[in-house]
Symmetry: C2
Subunit: 230 residues, 2 copies
């Protein structure tokens, strides 16, 4: 079994867990608090970021997209119609564009800030940047949620899955991101019916189950978080 | 000939130009000012970011890493020992980690801020965020250059090319980033002999020539910028 260094409330880590889950491959999970900057952790990844996969031979594979490409090259290519990636280079580019949209663009405009302010700061020591949430940062991140929900709604309304006819990494990247925001009660689903219908389908997949039981100390999820028919 | 929407001072765009240059494939370049948010440009990429490649059939391929994967899948695989990527999934992961290091991590800690403050703000209209440079942002970005130079120096000192024995995308991503910072005179090469020796080698490659003649209105490069024996 391979090992994943992760944090339960990082969208990038959830994305990797979903991908392994879709392929029915269990991961040994080690929860890492990157802000403590443990020596052994920095030796695996001098960038000090998550996720890190310890692959065959305990070689560290660093970063969500890098792990997803590795997973595709070593497992995905054998999965035929269950492959989370496409064969065609143009379709692969579209899937990668959407991975990047959620795990880089939405992450840097919304998710990272809300997780830092609402989840991490209350548990981080002051020396590592902990303390009271910055309400300005929260407000700025919240103002950006709407465009990402609108875009997701548009994608879900024009395609059966976000990158086309099949479940791909694009759905997992989007669902990983939205699941973190949903845990925090940041999403108003009423305005985004197509996105909601799509998210209900993703959330019902067996790969999603472990994410729905994730809990963070001192911060309960919204009441509908684990509800498959919300 | 394919078309690239780019900006001459964006490391992500320089990376793509270098990659096509290494494969001896010319690109039609269209300089885009993303802050003007042209309608035709947003139709190609709703994220409003650069670079965008118009590939075969004028299909837009969005983002530097997405373009580099597409280029590898459609051209690189045929290039044998000139391929800018590895065959082995582990080595591919290491190359992708380094692309991410320079085009995402260094970009968000250093390059983006210095380019915005020193190159773009003076030419952007006030309504798009133009105006006087923010000296605090410049100071913060400059404080981060040293660790990236130290890391580059370490890589260059322990490997012939940054990801191993051959020129790969990792070298192009690093060189693209450093070339932007070098244009701006932000790099003190004296302290980083191994990085300097490696950069001199990259800079001497034919693919680099077009970058050395790039000029930005109102901002001349440092005197050694285009000097191959600096």
């Amino acid at each position: 079994m391979l090992t994943l260094f992760h944090h339960p409330m990082f969208a990038t880590c959830r994305f990797v867990r979903l991908a392994f889950g879709e392929y029915g491959e269990e991961l040994a999970l080690i929860e890492e608090k990157p802000w403590t900057r443990r020596k052994e952790f920095l030796a695996l990844n001098p960038a000090g970021t998550l996720p890190i996969l310890l692959a065959e031979g305990d070689v560290p594979i660093v970063g969500a997209t890098v792990i997803s490409e590795y997973l595709d090259e070593t497992r995905g290519v054998l999965k035929r119609d269950k492959r989370l990636f496409a064969e065609d280079p143009m379709q692969r580019a579209e899937i990668r564009r959407l991975i990047d949209w959620y795990l880089n663009k939405a992450e840097s405009e919304v998710t990272r800030h809300l997780v830092r302010e609402r989840v991490l700061k209350p548990i981080m020591p002051e020396t590592a940047g902990g303390g009271s949430p910055d309400s300005g940062a929260i407000r700025a991140a919240r103002a950006n949620i709407r465009q990402h929900m609108k875009y997701t709604n548009w994608l879900a309304g024009t395609r059966h899955w976000l990158a086309g006819g099949r479940v791909t990494y694009a759905d997992l990247a989007a669902a990983a991101t939205l699941s973190v925001l949903d845990y925090l009660g940041e999403i108003d689903w009423r305005e985004h019916a197509a996105a909601r219908e799509w998210y209900t389908r993703v959330k019902s997949r067996p790969s999603f189950r472990p994410l729905l039981t994730d809990r963070v100390r001192g911060l309960s999820p919204v009441s509908h978080y684990a509800d498959l028919d919300f």
